[in-house]
Symmetry: C2
Subunit: 333 residues, 2 copies
């Protein structure tokens, strides 16, 4: 019986990084988490990445010699082909960090490098919601809206490492669209991120004269302490205004999905992140709006599901990238 | 010296079909054109396709034995994988036409089948505006807005043969967007197709009290005889209202390009079709709006050009698909 190859997947975020050994069947060993502490500089960050990889191998009760390859996922901006982090807003003051070369030199293993949202999509493709498909698009709903596109079993990285920046698809004309964190107007993220949900809720409350339990969420002057999860909870309890906001969120997400159906026409559209706690009724609303607003022929056939790997998607996807690297280099020998 | 392989490319449209022999270097022999005459039924249509292929081989002073493979491009709706035309609106009353099998059986040659807009994009990728690139997105501006996406040297067909339906990306919210021919609101095509340009011109004239040479184009009650080319000509002559309409067209096209940059992030965005007669000033406007409205990092790097193959792009791209078919099956032997 052939040995089952093992990989380390590492997912670097602005606050923490998470790593685990994942084997060829997609089974993950115990994961480890370390603080990223970008404020201590990029040398410290690279050393922490190496330490997370070592700890993950140890947590799996393995030795580094047991590892076939390593995959690292980080937030953009980045140059995927060169293996560089450029200057991501949530990893300040890092700049031009040679992640792939550093990890490769430190461990002497084939090392894959990928955008974190792309890696999450690739993880879902490998062993999650998309394991039966060759193409999928993942929307990750959090503070922002992230995304990853898998086509023909490969990550669509983009020519300039910006493939699948789905939060910045525009769903409304720039002159009337909501202001996005990126400084542009009308981006999907401005409507459907947790931040967008809270912003729309504050505006709706200001314009609404009737009673709503949403007012109980106002713990500060401008309502900025309110969370999207709370708005969804109040909606689930039957509050009409909150229900309208959740319904609108499904509508905006469906407009993003409609654009994806027109451009990419994938087998599966998946949603991950905090909002999926809203469960099947929310997913059903998204599907209903997709059937109304997308091109009907592909819309009838596309699958729409929740992601399945939660916050493990990033390191599992990073490991999947390592696995693909070994498989593709192996086929040439 | 190895023999230069030769292919027949056939591009089937609603009114005419065009075919030519194209060799491995992309050099096309004299092309032939036959009427499609969909009203005479699909048997007649298939026979005409076969006749066009025969005439193309004859026009190239070759025999069928000299041909390595055949490529056929047709309008959607279609099932690319099964090689079927389903029920395209401009090929009525055709329905479930087994194009690929028919051509394959008739000539006994490897036969590729592709969407016409995808084929045009693949032709531009092969020997046109995109010949130096591995990824490009082509917008074809005509009665509608067609599109094709090439990623990693391959056509993005979509899981349900709807990849690259770029005219039906929505650039405005459905409730306020212009009505599209597809019955939905806010599609790029509703704004930036020739039909959309004429529609916007009629509305602008109705709302405009000043003098404009556009009124000379009104030869019938509702202005429907006016063409987009005429509007562009009047703009080129300096008419302020027409110039505004052309400028708005560039703006809408740039919004479509911005969405493509966020999702696909290609090396090249190319524009083909009648409107490119407007020349460099129009392209410069599109570029300016892209720099204002797209994600800045990829927008700075993406190339924006006119297509180069004109109405030959379809049959050249169909031949390129035939060539890819032979190359990929050959590599397995």
């Amino acid at each position: 019986m052939a040995e089952v190859l093992k990989y380390v997947g590492l997912d670097v975020g602005g606050t923490t990084m998470k790593a685990a050994v994942v084997d060829d069947t997609g089974t993950a060993a115990e994961s480890v988490m370390l603080p990223t502490e970008p404020q201590f500089g990029q040398e410290h960050g690279l050393a922490t990445m190496a330490e997370a990889i070592r700890q993950a191998v140890k947590a799996a009760k393995l030795k580094m010699g047991d590892i076939a390859a390593i995959g690292v996922a980080t937030p953009g901006m980045m140059d995927i082909k060169l293996g560089l982090i450029l200057d991501p807003p949530n990893l300040k003051p890092w700049r031009n960090v040679p992640v792939r070369d550093y990890i490769h030199k430190t461990f002497g293993k084939p090392t894959a490098f990928q955008n974190d949202a792309n890696a999450a999509a690739f993880g879902e493709y490998w062993i999650g919601a998309g394991r039966d498909f060759h193409s999928l698009v993942l929307f990750t709903l959090g503070t922002g809206v992230g995304g990853g596109v898998i086509i023909n079993d490969r990550v669509m990285e983009g020519a300039h490492s910006h493939g699948g920046e789905l939060g910045h698809m525009r769903i409304a004309l720039p002159d009337t669209g909501r202001l996005c964190g990126c400084g542009r107007q009308g981006c999907l993220e401005a409507y459907a991120s947790a931040t967008g949900v809270v912003g729309r809720t504050r505006e709706a409350m200001a314009a609404y004269r009737g009673p709503t339990r949403l007012r109980e969420l106002l713990r500060d002057d401008d309502g900025s302490a309110m969370t999207a999860e709370e708005v969804f909870d109040v909606a689930a309890a039957g509050d009409p205004l909150a229900m309208q906001i959740v319904d609108d969120t499904a509508y905006y997400l469906a407009l993003g999905a409609s654009a994806i159906i027109s451009v990419v026409d994938p087998e599966l559209i998946a949603y991950g992140g905090g909002m999926i706690a809203a469960g099947e009724p929310f997913l059903a609303k998204i599907k209903e709006y997709i059937s109304r607003f997308a091109l009907s022929y592909p819309a009838k056939q596309v699958q729409v599901r929740y992601a399945q790997l939660g916050s493990d998607a990033g390191f599992i996807g990073a490991a999947a990238c390592a696995r693909q690297l070994v498989a593709s280099s192996g086929s040439g020998n």
